[in-house]
């Protein structure tokens, strides 16, 4: 994935707009205002990927989706386990610390967050590029950070040395949860981005 500077800028801008739109979607889902703050992007070298969020052995939650259509890509939201529990509390309106185990209902709530975040990102891309893209059903993984992000590293290891990572915070009534959103377009989609931007 040889991302030139213009393409990086475009993906970053779209990613940030997508994140902001995702907060709108969450607000709609919850019927309360969710504010996106401090969205930022960076290209992360492949070898550094497992070291995010406190290291490869830390317990975390990954929400994984693929998109199909004109944009074929993978999306992984990753957050520390305790933050995922807080996010569930935030979504269902419970006091922080209520959720301690991620059962099927909690996983479903997290999957829906992945759906909305990815869906709004795809909508943003579709609007800008006039493309059609649909997200797959989400998969929620609870495991070590390194193992979850192996999904990302295994996909790109053969073709790229870096991956676009979007980081931001959702805030609801003064409570905030930071999430990492990894975006991995396939080689053909990346070429289409390049062609469209040139």
């Amino acid at each position: 994935m040889n991302t030139d500077d213009n393409l990086k800028l475009f993906l970053e801008t779209t990613g940030i707009q997508g994140f902001q739109h995702a907060a709108e979607g969450l607000s709609g889902m919850l019927g309360e205002q969710i504010t996106p703050t401090r969205p930022a992007t960076r290209m992360v070298p492949l070898v550094e990927i497992p070291n995010v969020l406190g290291g490869p052995e830390r317990e975390a939650v990954g929400i994984y989706l693929q998109s199909e259509g004109d944009l074929v890509a993978q999306f992984v939201l990753v957050l520390p386990f305790e933050k995922a529990c807080e996010l569930v509390d935030l979504v269902i309106g419970e006091p922080v610390g209520t959720t301690k185990v991620l059962g099927s209902m909690e996983r479903s709530a997290l999957g829906e967050i992945g759906n909305i975040t990815t869906g709004y990102f795809l909508n943003r891309v579709a609007t800008i590029m006039h493309w059609d893209a649909r997200p797959s059903p989400p998969a929620v993984i609870v495991d070590m950070v390194g193992a979850i992000l192996n999904v990302v590293t295994a996909t790109v290891a053969g073709i790229s040395d870096e991956v676009l990572m979007l980081q931001g915070t959702f805030v609801r009534a003064g409570r905030e949860v930071e999430v990492m959103f990894w975006i991995i377009p396939d080689a053909n989609s990346l070429d289409m981005f390049k062609d469209a931007r040139s």
Binding site: L46, P50, I141, D143, M144, N150, T153
Partner: protein, 163 residues
């Protein structure tokens, strides 16, 4: 003296003959960790491979791939004084982290990594002594230089010896 953890990152090969060292590949998902140990020379080595093989055959980092990483690991072990015929070979990892409908087919990389490791070791006439592979959970694998113990730990489970 406390053990010194020597992390083996993505695509890396690490060798050690320092008795206090422990080679560690943290949080393996679909990746495989291949450990080799010469009990006489007390040389240990570990490979953390990401994919079965290079797409274009021109990869600059041999440790990224099973096909290039395994022979390179043997080569580095021999350079450090190990004897090929004495090498104890063990492997862990190769999980399928995605079990969602439709995702498995695209992501059988763990299984492919394991199959490729078997094939490559067979080709090199190296016997795999033990393995803990597959499944749907991540693993941390450790190889102790002083006695050649190799252990595997999954989230929420006890660390177990790979023998």
């Amino acid at each position: 003296m406390a053990d010194q953890a020597l992390p083996v990152g993505l695509g890396e090969i690490k060798i050690s003959n320092s008795p206090g060292d422990v080679l560690v590949a943290y949080g393996l998902g679909s990746c495989v960790g291949v450990g080799m140990y010469d009990p006489v020379a007390k040389v240990a080595g570990m490979l953390h491979a990401v994919l079965p093989q290079s797409l274009n055959g021109t990869e600059q980092v041999p440790g990224k791939f099973v096909t290039t990483g395994v022979p390179k690991l043997i080569e580095e072990m021999e350079k450090a004084g190990a004897l090929r015929s004495r090498l104890q070979v063990r492997m862990a990892g190769g999980a399928n982290m995605l079990t969602a409908p439709g995702a498995k087919q695209a992501f059988n990389i763990g299984e492919r990594n394991v199959l490729q490791a078997h094939t490559t070791l067979d080709t090199l006439r190296m016997r795999l002594q033990a393995e803990d592979v597959g499944g749907t959970v991540g693993r941390t694998v450790r190889l102790f230089v002083n006695d050649g113990r190799m252990t595997v730990k999954a989230l929420g489970s006890q660390e177990k010896a790979l023998t």
